[in-house]
């Protein structure tokens, strides 16, 4: 799959933003006033910024409102609704925390639930696609949610919690790679089932339908990013999880350095997740490539 920067940016940033909103809704940390204001500005900048970035790849962004209508069948539509519901609910909760020094517990719990539901619906957009075996796995939503929770804990300043969540997320990441590498073969879709031509023999793509490229090849048969897959996996794991954990466990006394370390951890985590998300797209192989003898 073509790793569109807008979609990578969207899933990385909004996942982190909604993760932070979930923690804020649960009351970790139970901040009020100016501190709460800073937390909510960061969370909304990430979540809304991500959502806006996702509209850049649309052919007709001006019609985006229509995308809220098909929640009964479409995960993309459900994601839109969940995101708006989460942002509105948490917005109200934030107003209480910032200006009224209040924590409306039920509203916070609801907002946290909706925030995580948004991340889940995002992941289901990819998980539902049988055409991309690497995404069509139970581990895909687990991965999205674990990243969001780990990043959220990191941003929410939950030092202890974030270390455990980061370690758990890195385990999910490794499992996703191991399972994902076998997914295409396990799907049972081959050139033989695609063309129905085997008859006991073998099929080879002889000539493509066109001399140039086309939308399908540009969108679905992206092989450039896979060349350095192994190195990128190491980078994703290092920046996304190992470095942040190291930054968090380093024994430091001064609160300034502690904050600096936390900032480094967040930045490093963000880079790692973006690299992982790049691989999520670049390594995903669409079955339509079989008709071209490529994947």
């Amino acid at each position: 799959m073509h790793p569109a920067p807008s979609v990578i940016l969207f899933t990385t940033l909004s996942g982190l933003g909604f993760g932070l909103l979930a923690f804020l809704g649960l009351g970790y940390p139970a901040v009020t006033g100016g501190v709460a204001f800073v937390f909510y500005v960061i969370a909304y900048a990430l979540a809304v910024g991500g959502l806006l970035a996702s509209t850049f790849h649309l052919g007709h962004p001006e019609r985006a409102l229509k995308a809220f209508s098909q929640w009964r069948s479409s995960w993309l539509s459900r994601e839109g609704l969940c995101a708006v519901a989460a942002l509105l609910t948490m917005g109200l909760f934030a107003l209480g925390a910032i200006f009224l020094d209040q924590h409306w517990r039920i509203l916070g719990l609801l907002g946290a639930g909706l925030s995580l539901a948004t991340v889940f619906t995002t992941s289901m957009i990819y998980t539902q696609l049988k055409t991309i075996p690497r995404w069509n796995m139970l581990l895909t939503p687990v991965m999205f949610l674990s990243f969001s929770v780990a990043g959220g804990a990191l941003l929410a300043g939950q030092e202890r919690l974030s270390i455990w969540f980061l370690l758990a997320a890195s385990a999910v990441q490794l499992a996703y790679w191991v399972k994902g590498d076998q997914a295409f073969a396990a799907s049972g879709t081959t050139m033989e089932t695609a063309t129905g031509l085997a008859g006991g023999g073998s099929v080879r793509a002889f000539e493509p339908p066109h001399t140039g490229s086309n939308y399908l090849l540009r969108e679905f048969v992206h092989v450039v990013g896979r060349k350095h897959a192994m190195k990128l996996r190491v980078l994703a794991l290092g920046f996304g999880f190992i470095l942040p954990v190291l930054f968090m466990v380093l024994p430091v006394d001064s609160s300034l350095i502690k904050h600096l370390m936390a900032a480094f951890a967040v930045l490093s985590h963000l880079i790692g997740i973006a690299v992982s998300r790049w691989l999520f797209f670049a390594q995903a192989e669409h079955v339509v490539g079989l008709y071209y003898g490529r994947r």
């Binding site: 052919g59 229509k66 031509l197």
Partner: protein, 268 residues
Amino acid sequence: MTELPTTTAKKMGLVIDLDTCVGCHACVISCKGWNTENYGAPLSDQDAYGAAPSGTFLNRVHSFEVQPKASPAQPDPAAQLIHFPKSCLHCEEAPCVTVCPTGASYKRVEDGIVLVNESDCIGCGLCAWSCPYGARELDLAEGVMKKCTLCVDRIYNENLPEVDRVPSCVRTCPAGARHFGDLGDPDSDVSQLVAERGGMDLMPEMGTKPVNKYLPPRPKDKLEEQIDILAPLLAPVTEEPGGFLGWLDKALDRLPGQSSSQSSGGSN
């Protein structure tokens, strides 16, 4: 509404005969010709006369080489070249319809044709992602999803002569490799053809239940038999010359010495 209808009154679709398709791409051209100036937005090209031309097509013809397995009867079978036209299969369980967030993609209850309402399409591309067959292409000029309409503006068009009320690709195919009809009716010509020739689904494991069927290629004739077709033409017209030539032939045969064997139709 992007929920799929539970049943459709008809299942209009194509039957594509991989045995007769000669790979001329006439269906591709006629499809582009009809659909660029009729239903919906035109099918644009990018850099059409430049170094890297590409464009939107609703129908494309692949070519595959099939190497049959060796058998005692055919220890060294020749490879077969199969031309493989591919367009929307108008699936009964069309994943492209249910993923659409705006309701632009829909499957018609009356005839099962899958269409895109282009004024509702936001061009997110998710339907193309969900299609295993590569039947949908986002038009880069228009920013909306394009797909085969089964020439919905031809098949019911009473302004056209009756013979033309079939999809453009079917009307054009010079080999008669494309057939159009109601695959939901077991007595229709297309359904009979599918039953007779063992019509198949593409990627059945995807669970899309395609309406369009493909007729598998028949096994090819053997090479020796093909050459024998010419043998009668090359054989001498009269096996035994009569009259004076016959007497001369026999007389010469009786003379001692090697005479070359009688020329025959065999060729080397």
